[in-house]
């Protein structure tokens, strides 16, 4: 009987060969989709060669290497599954809505100087807007290709790709949060705070080191390049989905803190709309009967949020990422116009929106 690792590798080799055939069988996609497909064909071919190399390696059965070879198998196996569930699924079912979204995202990227190849975008998400970072794949819910008010969230998702590819800015943001909380813990100790309050500070510090910094970074990039429309979309999303604006969760920062950070960025950009968004947020807060918890400012100090805003703005301007400028960014302007139109006349907005979506579709999918 063959050894376990050998069996697993043959099984995986067959899976990769199948994925290669599936990708190759995608017929007649437009050029940008073909480029995306070809990138994955190359990756899959490379994995096939790695597996064949491992199977030919006389050291494969060497006991002291077994665990390391098993780890190689696991990463390759995860990649095969991710390619199957992301790119292959998207390409095999690629529709006209997906083409519109892919080209819309590419146009957004060109407008603000996104420094990487734009991702593929498909309307098949069951998880609201999300990015599969390593697959360069952005997933949106089905309806979003026919609507405008949620699209500013695309900029947040592009922020995930930016921060993944440019990890130095994320490291800077994390270092700022860690410096802040380290000094707060020292202050708390010197002022003899209760042990549970000091433990809370340490726990916030860990959350900033994890997901919080990333989410703030993406929000701030989105606000920088898309302007007030992102602030309005954020407020609407909080109204739709947030159970508690001040809840201190592990995965995402509290919605109220994110809203505050977006406001700070809009103010830094000199956008007068910041006040109107703030007023609507206040109305939403009162309507939902939500109040700040005692710990809220400990977890999300304004001074730290200001530092993040400065760091993101400096990073963007230093790397050629453009701040929202209506005259130079027709797509971002359209999304801002959509929000202005909606706020002034929500009842008749849909007719206006449908006409703009039809124009956009004709323009972006003509060729």
């Amino acid at each position: 009987m063959s050894a376990l690792l050998e069996q697993l590798l043959y099984d995986l080799l067959q899976r990769y060969r199948f994925l290669r055939d599936e990708l190759a069988s995608v017929q007649g996609p437009p050029p940008e989709v073909l480029t995306y497909r070809d990138g994955f064909l190359t990756r899959v071919d490379r994995c096939i060669r790695v597996i064949e190399g491992l199977l030919d390696d006389p050291d494969l059965s060497q006991p002291s290497f077994a665990r390391n070879n098993f780890h190689i198998y696991k990463r390759l196996s995860e990649l095969a599954q991710a390619i199957d569930e992301g790119p292959v699924l998207s390409l095999k079912r690629f529709s006209s809505s997906d083409l519109l979204l892919t080209r819309l995202v590419a146009a957004m990227c060109r407008e603000f100087g996104f420094p990487h190849t734009p991702p593929l975008c498909t309307a098949m998400s069951t998880q609201y807007y999300c990015t599969i970072t390593g697959m360069d794949l952005l997933l949106l819910p089905h309806s979003e290709s026919s609507h405008l008010l949620g699209l500013p969230d695309v900029y947040h998702e592009l922020g995930h790709i930016l921060l993944f590819r440019n990890s130095s800015v994320l490291s800077q943001l994390r270092a700022k949060s860690q410096a802040h909380f380290q000094s707060e813990v020292l202050r708390a100790q010197s002022e003899a705070w209760p042990a549970n309050s000091i433990a809370a500070l340490q726990s916030y510090s860990n959350r900033w080191l994890g997901e919080w910094t990333l989410e703030f970074g993406c929000d701030l990039i989105a606000t920088y390049v898309c302007g007030p429309a992102f602030g309005w979309t954020n407020a609407r999303l909080c109204a739709r989905l947030s159970p508690d604006f001040y809840e201190i969760m592990t995965s995402h920062p509290a919605d109220a803190a994110r809203t505050w950070a977006i406001k700070l960025m809009l103010e830094r950009l000199g956008r007068v709309e910041a006040q109107a968004i703030d007023a609507q947020w206040e109305e939403l807060r009162k309507t939902a009967a939500q109040n700040e918890s005692q710990e809220f400012h400990l977890a999300f100090p304004h001074a730290l949020l200001r530092e993040l805003v400065d760091t993101v703005a400096t990073y963007c301007s230093g790397t050629g990422i453009k701040a929202y400028a209506p005259g130079e960014m027709p797509i971002a302007k359209l999304l801002n116009d959509a929000w202005a139109k909606f706020l002034s006349n929500p009842k008749d907005f849909r007719r206006w929106e449908q006409a703009r979506v039809a124009e956009l579709t004709a323009r972006l999918t003509a060729s």
Binding site: S64, C130, L214, E215, S251
Partner: protein, 132 residues
Amino acid sequence: MSDTSALSHDYETTAHFAEQVNSAVLSLKKSLRRRTFSSKETGSLADVVQAVRTQIAQELTPTTPSVPPEVIERLTSEHKAQMGYFLEDLATAEKALRGNSPVDSEVVRVLDDICDAADASASAMFRRLRRR
């Protein structure tokens, strides 16, 4: 906007780290077995061990490479009971990988610990992405 994006980012970062460290440790094991080991080739592993030690000790010194927080959490939790000894082992391993003392089975054991923590972190995130 959903948790998926952040998790996907963390998974990619952690899986990349796991892959890099595992590949370097495997090369080291192979060169030790063939008696072709040279400390000139282990500088990057020494940097990883140093980064792990610095981040576990919560020193604010920026390190290259940066070790994913989940890997640090996992190592911290696994060695909580004997953290002092673990930090010492890391310092000894780093010294050896920089060519200042022999690379023995204890050094390889420390490296295997880091590989295992990175692998387990990447696997856990991959699974969380699929909510199983």
